[in-house]
């Protein structure tokens, strides 16, 4: 999946996109969804981004995870957490001069949570035993990323993004790495 992303990222500038910067500049809002995460990870997501008119933009991504594979791995003990949701506000800085094709850098914070499992020792009638105990976790990840975005017909966005962060609160329960990798399509209005 990462190899595909690399190829897509490198080939991105070769794809022609219609340049009409004044048209784009007048459109300040964008909604998009990350198809890669949806297909590969069953992470259903929606992002909103607001463009300030300068090089900065900001927005938020919401996602819920409903992956049978993750759930099965969690139940079988192949992983100790099962992420369920993410709410990720972000701020971006456009690094290129053009507005129809550009690289960007991003910082984000993500409130994320899910299920956690651990093996605990208990005692019943004076005899000990171990069993799996499940609980919820909630954490806040801080991270950064970068990506490439291009527009078709001044409205349709295609975006490649790679980023990661680290959780900061319940680090013994939550995933070590919070990743923000995706190939998104969106609409700017």
């Amino acid at each position: 999946m990462k190899r595909f992303l690399w190829i897509a990222l490198l080939c991105g500038p070769l794809v022609s996109a219609q340049e009409n910067e004044s048209g784009l500049s007048s459109r300040k809002n964008e909604v998009r969804t990350d198809l890669l995460s949806t297909v590969a990870l069953a992470k259903y997501n929606l992002s909103y981004e607001r463009f300030t008119g300068g090089k900065f933009s900001f927005g938020v991504t919401g996602a819920v995870v409903s992956s049978k594979k993750v759930e099965d791995d969690f139940e079988e003990g192949n992983r100790d957490n099962s992420p369920q949701f993410e709410v990720t506000p972000f701020v971006r800085y456009r690094l290129s001069e053009g507005v129809s094709r550009f690289y960007f850098a991003e910082v984000f914070a993500s409130a994320n949570g899910g299920d956690f499992r651990e093996i605990v020792r208990k005692t019943e009638n004076g005899v000990g035993y171990y069993e799996v105990e499940k609980s919820d976790y909630f954490d806040v990840a801080i991270g950064a990323g970068a990506g490439y975005k291009m527009y078709l017909k001044e409205q349709w966005a295609i975006e490649l993004m790679v980023g990661f962060g680290v959780n900061t609160i319940e680090t013994d329960k939550s995933p070590d790495v919070f990743s923000r990798v995706g190939v998104s399509v969106g609409y700017r209005f």
Binding site: G77, R79, R117, Y130, V132, G145
Partner: protein, 198 residues
């Protein structure tokens, strides 16, 4: 602009590598490791002759002492009702001064008493099987000694010789897998039980 792109690609490569470096989320979380003493023993004969069996026993209750805890551990409950615990042992023959070679163990030479004994050539796989009536795991098996010579037995096949005996629960998928580090009072500090066959 080119420099900027290269900086980006370098940064992205770093991000990808960092994302790959974490392995906390790729471990196995259904393992329980405990230590409990003296779960296996050798039926100690003063003198072995050709045709005798070297017998090994592994009888233990579903509840056994657990090192570092102030009460026993229920193996059956912890393992989700595992019907057996498996361990292995092998016999080596001294072919020259301090030179030992594994004895080939065949099914014909295995004594299959209680539990299960399965010959795998260089070693024997032993299963101590749960007896619901007695609420104990039970194994008694052995290997027929077919030649005279000096021998030694150890319980650490496919790993460095040690006094530790590893018994693992044959748990069904989804239940906890219990690994017990135990020992045998009949072996020396290196994990060997030495004997001669006349």
């Amino acid at each position: 602009m080119k420099t900027l792109k290269y900086l980006f690609l370098g940064g992205l490569a770093t991000v990808l590598m960092a994302a790959d470096c974490s392995n906390k989320d790729s471990e196995f979380y259904n393992d329980v490791f405990i230590s409990s003493p003296n779960m296996v023993d050798v039926e100690d004969n003063v003198l072995y002759t050709v045709g005798d069996y070297l017998m090994v026993n592994a009888y233990f209750d579903r509840t056994v002492p657990e090192a570092g805890q102030n009460n026993d551990i229920d193996l059956y409950k912890t393992s989700g009702g595992a019907l057996s615990f498996t361990f292995s042992y092998l016999i080596e023959k001294e072919i020259a001064q301090d030179q030992w070679t594994p004895v080939d163990i065949t099914e014909a030479n295995v004594f299959d008493g209680e539990g299960n004994s399965v010959a795998f050539g260089d070693f024997l796989l032993a299963q101590s099987v749960f007896d619901p009536a007695l609420q104990t795991y039970r194994y008694r098996g052995g290997v027929r000694l077919t030649e005279t010579g000096s021998y030694r037995l150890r319980f650490t096949y496919n790993q460095e010789p040690s006094a530790a005996i590893v018994l693992t629960s044959d748990s069904l998928q989804g239940n906890l897998f219990v690994t017990i580090f135990s020992n045998c009072e009949d072996t020396d500090s290196a994990g060997y039980y030495y004997f001669d066959v006349n």
